[in-house]
């Protein structure tokens, strides 16, 4: 023990000495997954946005740390009275990292590229309601919609809607060129991505001069990298079980917040006997959410009763409707006339699914439901479960913000087909009044909970860790990003 105290003393001394001179202006951020490429408009991998969102690329609007929609490259915007046309006023004097000026033409180019027929944008639905993009002058652009909508500023805040330049659009995957406060420097594939401060940035200059993202997938390696000081922060630390250890160490701060990830036990609503709402409700009552949160996530996570983020102002707490009640579950199964039930439970790789799956299997056994657990890789899961719909139960976290609309897609993998719900979502798309939107969102949440489409488990927590002195990292993740614009070292 004295050995450890000894090294700690020297570490603290060294830290004290260096901070006596000047605050550091570089940071090394640890990430579990390496982005496959660096083009946020051409892939769904969260790791892409975790490197480039708000750092390298910017959109007309952007998400703030609390999930609110803030102005980005657009200074302000107005909506026409009929809700069909948005007019965006752009910042002037903005340039891409290669020196090209950013103007309204680039807005038209970026949005038309994202919604083109041969576009490979992973979130093409965000742009489905755009009719035309009209350039008025260099700093004014009108976006005409097909139907009135209040969602446009929110949709344009996604990483998939960032502004790109025609000259560099084809090589963004390996040489990203944006308008952000950081410029892409280099990518040592398999090891790290480095970005440096953009000295010609149009907005508030950032404190950091240099940032590198290192990719460490092994939880034990991530732990040693933090402990050895090779990495300054790990915003999504891969092993929640280590967080208390970091909390107890004076060199580190634990940063625990919430994400947009609704973690659900998804059920195949088209496959008997899961097409029977009684059976689905029985399964929901058989599950003890707190046991899963404690057992699989080491206490990190907020129970949910519907497919909606608890930190959202319109969230309705419906957890009581599907509270843990094995007796009720057995009664429901009896009412449905189901006995000797065996269901497949297909689990993708994340630990919430693998660990959570074991716990759920044992909870279901208590009420007389047997499960066949099958562990799948992501590619297999996408093929079998997501595309092939060949499953009874699966566990997955839906990490996109405000994604309750997936329940209006009857061919979506859990196959919920309810015209009343689809009408609500359709109405929501065109509703611009805040109070009415709230009412619709509440109704939507209650309907999928009432139909018990899936068993709703918990909102995935963001468990991060940072060296003491590093401030400005997001605690929550309203979108998957490591926004470094406000990050600095305390002197």
């Amino acid at each position: 023990m004295s050995f450890r105290r000894h090294t700690l003393f020297w570490a603290l001394l060294a830290a004290g000495v260096s901070s006596a001179f000047a605050a550091r202006t570089d940071v090394t951020i640890g990430m579990v997954l390496e982005p496959p490429n660096l083009d946020p408009t051409g892939g769904a991998a969260a790791a892409i946005d975790e490197v480039v969102y708000a750092n390298v690329f910017e959109g007309l609007t952007r998400f703030g740390p609390d999930g609110s929609v803030l102005p980005g490259l657009a200074e302000s915007w107005t909506v026409s009275d009929d809700g069909m046309t948005y007019t965006f006023a752009l910042h002037s004097g903005v340039a891409f990292h290669d020196g090209e000026a950013f103007t309204a033409d680039d807005v038209a180019f970026s949005l038309d590229r994202a919604r083109a027929d041969d576009s490979t944008n992973a979130q093409k639905a965000l742009f489905a309601n755009i009719d035309t993009v009209e350039v008025i002058d260099d700093t004014t652009v009108n976006i005409h919609l097909l139907e009135p909508s209040g969602n446009l500023p929110f949709n344009l805040a996604w990483g998939d809607a960032v502004m790109v330049d025609a000259a560099s659009a084809d090589s963004l995957a390996t040489a990203p060129v944006g308008t952000g406060p950081f410029r892409f420097e280099r990518w040592v594939q398999g090891d790290r991505v480095e970005i440096v401060r953009n000295d010609n940035y149009w907005g508030e200059p950032v404190a950091l001069e240099k940032a590198s993202f290192r990719f460490i997938s092994e939880p034990t390696a991530a732990f040693s990298a933090m402990m050895a000081g090779d990495v300054d922060a790990f915003p999504n630390f891969p092993a929640p079980e280590n967080i208390p250890q970091f909390e107890a160490d004076p060199r580190f701060n634990a940063i625990v917040g919430s994400t947009e990830g609704e973690t659900i036990l998804a059920m195949n609503n088209a496959s008997p006997p899961l097409d029977n709402v009684l059976v689905r409700r029985a399964i929901a009552h058989a599950i003890d959410r707190s046991a899963i949160i404690d057992g699989a996530m080491f206490g990190f996570g907020t129970p949910i009763g519907t497919h909606f983020a608890p930190h959202h102002p319109d969230y309705v707490d419906l957890t009581e409707d599907s509270a843990f009640d094995p007796e009720a579950a057995k009664a429901l199964l009896e009412e449905a006339g189901v006995e000797e039930l065996t269901l497949s439970l297909k689990l993708p790789p994340p630990s919430y699914a693998r660990r959570g799956g074991e716990i759920i299997a044992s909870q279901l056994r208590e009420v007389g439901i047997n499960t066949d657990i099958e562990n799948l890789e992501w590619a297999q899961w996408l093929e079998q479960v997501f595309k092939g719909k060949d499953f009874d139960l699966t566990i997955v976290s839906h990490t996109e913000p405000m994604d309750i609309g997936i329940y209006a897609r009857p061919d979506y993998y859990f196959q919920y087909d309810n015209p009343v719900f689809q009408a609500i979502i359709e109405k929501l798309a065109t509703e611009t009044d805040a109070a009415d939107r709230s009412t619709l969102l509440n109704a939507a949440q209650e309907m999928i909970a009432g139909d018990q489409v899936n068993a709703y488990l918990f909102q995935l927590a963001k468990t991060g860790v940072a060296s003491v002195g590093l401030t400005g990292l997001w605690a929550n993740s309203p979108t998957q990003a490591n926004d470094l614009t406000g990050v600095s070292w305390e002197e």
């Binding site: 496959p36 769904a44 576009s119 979130q123 090891d191 050895a228 590619a379």
Partner: protein, 312 residues
């Protein structure tokens, strides 16, 4: 010379057969790279557009032909997920994997030869028992566990070496070597243990041969007999093992690469399999097959060098 040619022909045949096997095996694995890349919210049209862009809508035979004919002129194709040349990616990874494998093999040989020689020459003595005991431990300890132990002591506590990562050779020879030191030690230990045991038993076998007894009868000291006659004759099994070990270290360092988050070939293949980046998997596996076949060929030539009877 005909021996060398014979071996070369079998090398080429192996490569062609391997290319077919690798392609078929990789292609039949379920999973679509396009849907992996686009995630849960993408519409089927978008997935189809990406499949077309990646050339995945062509038939398997056409893609095999494209792949093999490309490889012959040094074009390994473009990675689906990384969107860069597979060749340049592989070159980057080789710059980590090959030096790491060589370093580990060098360490293993440096440890194994003295240990094996001492153990064989003092059979049953304290040194022999000690070497046998240590090699037993070396084989029994899983190398990832040993790696974690090294990190704990030399990175977390002493801070002599980084806990992982690779700065790149352009950062300078010393930082790069420093990054490879702990992984090389972790890889070398079990290999050294195996090699020492093989060398010892191979030496003991040859030491029991008639020609050694004859040499000793002619008045050679036991040390001279060991160096001049036994060692050379004991080399064939040792060379075989060294050849296998190099191939293993090149391709099989994946666990160590994960523990030290090194951007090596093993991790590249691992990531590529996860994301169904078939072009990368096929090309890297082919390259590894080529490396293994080549090393085997070189070992075959080395046999001929140590054993003139094989040259016929």
């Amino acid at each position: 010379m005909s021996y060398a040619l014979r071996r070369l022909t079998s090398l080429l045949v192996t490569l062609v057969v391997a290319s077919v096997v690798v392609f078929v095996v990789v292609e039949v694995v379920p999973g679509d790279p396009a849907s992996y890349m686009l995630g849960l919210n993408a519409s089927p049209d978008t997935v189809q557009a990406l499949r077309t862009e990646l050339g995945l809508d062509q038939t398997g035979v056409a893609r095999w032909f494209d792949w093999v004919s490309g490889m012959l002129v040094g074009d390994f194709g473009v990675s689906y997920t990384y969107r860069t040349d597979v060749a340049s990616m592989v070159v980057d990874r080789i710059a980590v994997s090959v030096p790491l494998a060589l370093l580990a093999l060098m360490l293993a040989v440096l440890i194994a030869f003295p240990a094996g020689l001492v153990a064989a020459s003092r059979r049953g003595g304290v040194a022999d028992t000690g070497v046998m005991g240590f090699t037993q431990i070396g084989i029994a300890i899983p190398n990832f566990w040993f790696a974690m132990l090294l990190v704990l002591v030399f990175s977390v506590h002493l801070r002599w070496f980084p806990s992982g990562g690779f700065p790149g050779w352009e950062a300078g020879l010393w930082p790069a070597l420093k990054a490879l030191t702990l992984p090389a030690i972790a890889l070398a230990l079990p290999q050294a243990a195996i090699l020492a045991r093989v060398l010892r038993s191979s030496l003991l076998d040859t030491l029991g041969e008639d020609y050694i007894r004859t040499a000793r009868a002619k008045g050679l000291s036991s040390r001279a007999a060991l160096w001049k006659h036994a060692l050379r004759n004991a080399m064939i099994p040792v060379l075989t093992i060294v050849g296998l070990q190099f191939s293993f270290l090149l391709a099989g360092a994946i666990i160590i690469e994960n523990v030290f988050y090194l951007p090596g070939l093993g991790r590249l293949v691992f990531q590529a399999i996860t994301s169904r980046d078939l072009v990368v998997v096929e090309s890297v596996v082919m390259l590894l097959v080529f490396a293994v076949v080549l090393v085997t060929y070189l070992v075959d030539l080395a046999y001929a060098w140590v054993d003139p009877r094989l040259r016929r």
